[in-house]
């Protein structure tokens, strides 16, 4: 009897082991560069998915953002990459698709929840095949410290004139850094500076598409004036801003030493953690402009590794990424990353809600260097980092910066050579 019981027990154990083996076959690994969000994936997003799909286990294994592209490429070529791939926008992912590392996802039922603009970052040039589910966008603008504004009796500036008047007042007071931005890491100058205020000058999509078509030039007045405005920021930046890194900037504002922060919406959660009493205003309108434009940049998509051992489960997961449920979790758990789906999402974070409200007030565009224009050498995005930092540093004139961008682009991009 005892022997029989033991046998049954052993059989049971063997079955359990076999079952757990089967369950691990249903494990999906996600490659991502968002190591900042690892906690939220583990605590919120994955449990929500696993609740509805108890047979599929998800593992979130992020890499540092700087190393992500290189590491992912190496893993894909070595055949060791995870089942789910987080997609950078535009060419980096397009190249992965062209090499056969990503699969077409047109047949996902939830793909219909996304607009063409949202899908454009992960769609082939002919517009036919989409290979990543659009996940989130980021919006540029300015975050300000409400306490400092109250103390100095300031109001949110709407025009550039008001913006510089506000900066002047904060500078005159002397207790706070008026505008927080550093040029050491270069991308801050380009992304939080040039791409932040620029769309108001080049009229968003209109200007961006003109560059791609070759009907607009980077030496046009719109771009030169963007640089000219950036150059005017220098006197209001922190002391020694030339050696100020991005973490320096975050700390300067997070510790309440800076009044206005040239922002990407993704910074909201950083400042929430530091308990800053903050508000946000959109890029102020330049003189003579009537309509406003914002950079609402398609930043994160998510696709499937063509070599996954578990394509069925991966598709189930990707379907869910396109769902309204995911859009709600993402928008609320990661304030500052805005779901790209058409689903109606209400955000609990008021600053994130402020950012997303601009979508209704202004016209949206994406960063102008991302689609097609950064395919050649010299790389337009790298050039923008370099010249934007130099313009703010006062080492380059706005004219020279625009000329360098245009010359670089015209070297390889046929529509700009006409």
């Amino acid at each position: 009897m005892l022997i029989k019981g033991l046998k049954a027990l052993l059989l049971g154990a063997a079955a359990a082991i076999a079952l757990s083996g089967a369950a691990s076959a249903g494990t999906l690994t996600i490659e991502s560069w968002r190591n900042d969000d690892a906690q939220i994936w583990k605590d919120k997003i994955i449990p929500a998915f696993e609740k509805a799909h108890p047979d599929i286990k998800i593992e979130f294994t992020p890499t540092a953002p700087k190393e992500y592209n290189a590491a992912l490429n190496a893993k894909l070529e070595g055949g060791t990459a995870g089942d789910i791939i987080t997609c950078r926008p535009f060419d980096a992912s397009l190249e992965l698709f062209n090499k056969g590392f990503l699969v077409p996802l047109n047949d996902l039922s939830t793909m219909g929840n996304f607009s063409d603009v949202a899908r454009s970052a992960w769609t082939t040039d002919d517009g036919k095949t989409t290979f990543c589910v659009p996940m989130a966008s980021v919006i540029h603008g300015f975050i300000y410290n409400k306490d400092i504004f109250k103390e100095l009796g300031l109001t949110e500036p709407r025009t550039e004139e008001e913006f510089f008047a506000v900066l002047e007042k904060i500078k005159a007071n002397g207790a706070y850094v008026p505008l927080v931005l550093g040029t050491n890491d270069q991308w801050e100058a380009a992304t939080m500076g040039f791409q932040n205020i620029g769309p108001n000058y080049w009229k968003g999509e209109e200007g961006r598409k003109a560059l791609i078509a070759g009907t607009g030039r980077l030496t046009d007045p719109a771009y030169v004036s963007t640089f000219a405005t950036l150059a005017k920021w220098a006197p209001y930046l922190g002391d020694g801003f030339k050696a100020q890194t991005y973490p320096d900037s975050q700390n300067l504002f997070g510790l309440g030493k800076g009044a206005i922060y040239a922002a990407g919406s993704w910074d909201i959660s950083t400042f929430r953690a530091q308990k800053v009493n903050m508000g946000a205003f959109k890029p102020p309108l330049p003189a003579g402009a009537a309509e406003c434009y914002i950079s609402d940049h398609t930043d994160i998509g998510i696709g499937m590794n063509a070599k996954t051992k578990n394509p069925g489960d991966a598709k189930v997961f990707l379907e869910w990424i396109g769902s309204e449920e995911f859009a709600n979790i993402l928008g609320n758990e990661l304030p500052g990353f805005f779901p790209l789906s058409n689903a109606k999402v209400t955000l609990s974070d008021d600053v994130a809600q402020t950012f997303v409200n601009w979508r209704a007030e202004c016209k949206s565009t994406i960063r102008n260097s991302y689609q097609i224009l950064s395919r050649g050498t010299p790389n337009l995005e790298n050039e923008m980092w370099n010249v934007s930092a130099q313009v703010i540093n006062g080492a380059m004139t706005p004219d020279a910066a625009a000329r360098q961008l245009q010359d670089g682009l015209a070297k390889w991009y046929a529509p700009q050579q006409k």
Partner: protein, 305 residues
């Protein structure tokens, strides 16, 4: 010993090293060189390009501009190490080998310590020290009434490369020190005694007896510095990123290679051109090492005791 046994013994002792060295050093080297003769198509296939990549790298202004800039910066980086790191290393070694010195082991350990720290730590610590926002460098200068001398050195085009080089010097000064110190220890006391009897003071004994005896070590230190400097990458990447700003003023061969091979933000990696740059780095280092071997090494006199 019979020849068969000799060969077996040879294989036993040399085999593992040859195998590891071939697998992890010689094969990647040859693969890189081979890779630099191909160009990569957008669908991932390879196409024989002969010397095309090198032609582009050296003659197309889009590529040659950054290449010569990186080479120039690398030469400056090396010259700063040669003229600051190695003389200081020599000086420290000479001081350490003074006959009556207390806390010798403490000094030696402290000076050698940074060499063992991770570059990421070094980069971060120095970025904090020099930070115009919270760095102690400014307070330190202010304390002596020299605050006006402070500048955001790491962010200014004219001073960024020098600053990064000096940080690297600070990190690695322990290596020449320890190598030269060891060489100084190996000099027999009889020679110094004889020199003292002949009427030389400490300084003269160092100049005319010890220095000639440690020239081979100084030569070795120089060539190590050369090879390491032209392979350098990590400190600059950690402090200034892959774009090595401002305006590529801290861009050296290693960062140029990394950016080209692995890409940056929207720039896609280009393994073929990256391999071409790596091959150029190999050639530059080879030329330097050969010049040293044929022009310097042969003229150094060695003494055996």
């Amino acid at each position: 010993m019979p020849q068969g046994a000799y060969l077996r013994l040879l294989l036993f002792f040399l085999g593992p090293a040859v195998l590891v060295y071939t697998l992890f050093s010689i094969y990647p080297l040859l693969a890189t060189i081979l890779n630099s003769f191909y160009s990569r198509q957008s669908d991932g296939s390879h196409l024989w390009a002969g010397l095309g990549n090198f032609h582009t790298l050296l003659l197309d202004p889009t590529w040659s501009g950054p290449f010569w800039n990186a080479l120039k910066n690398n030469v400056i980086f090396f010259l700063i190490h040669m003229s600051v790191q190695n003389p200081i290393g020599l000086l420290l070694a000479a001081l350490l080998s003074l006959p009556r010195l207390r806390f010798r082991a403490t000094y030696r350990t402290l000076i050698f310590m940074p060499t063992m720290l991770s570059v990421v730590v070094i980069g971060f610590v120095w970025q904090l020290i020099l930070s115009p926002l919270w760095g102690i460098a400014r307070m330190f200068l202010n304390f002596f009434g020299l605050g006006f001398l402070f500048a955001p050195w790491l962010g200014v085009e004219s001073s960024a490369l020098i600053t990064v080089s000096l940080i690297s010097v600070w990190q690695f000064v322990g290596i020449p020190m320890i190598l030269i110190y060891t060489a100084l220890l190996a000099i027999p006391d009889e020679l110094i005694d004889a020199a003292t009897v002949d009427g030389l003071n400490q300084f003269q004994a160092f100049m005319w007896v010890k220095l000639p005896l440690i020239w081979p070590t100084i030569g070795l230190v120089s060539i190590l510095t050369f090879v390491n400097n032209f392979n350098a990458f990590d400190l600059i990447y950690a402090m200034k990123g892959a774009l090595a700003g401002p305006n590529f003023s801290t861009d050296i061969m290693g960062t140029l290679f990394y950016r080209t091979f692995f890409g940056n933000q929207l720039q896609l990696g280009n393994p073929a051109m990256g391999s071409a740059i790596a091959t150029m780095m190999l050639i530059i280092i080879l030329i330097g090492v050969m010049a040293y071997l044929f022009l310097v090494q042969r003229r150094i006199q060695r003494y055996s005791f």
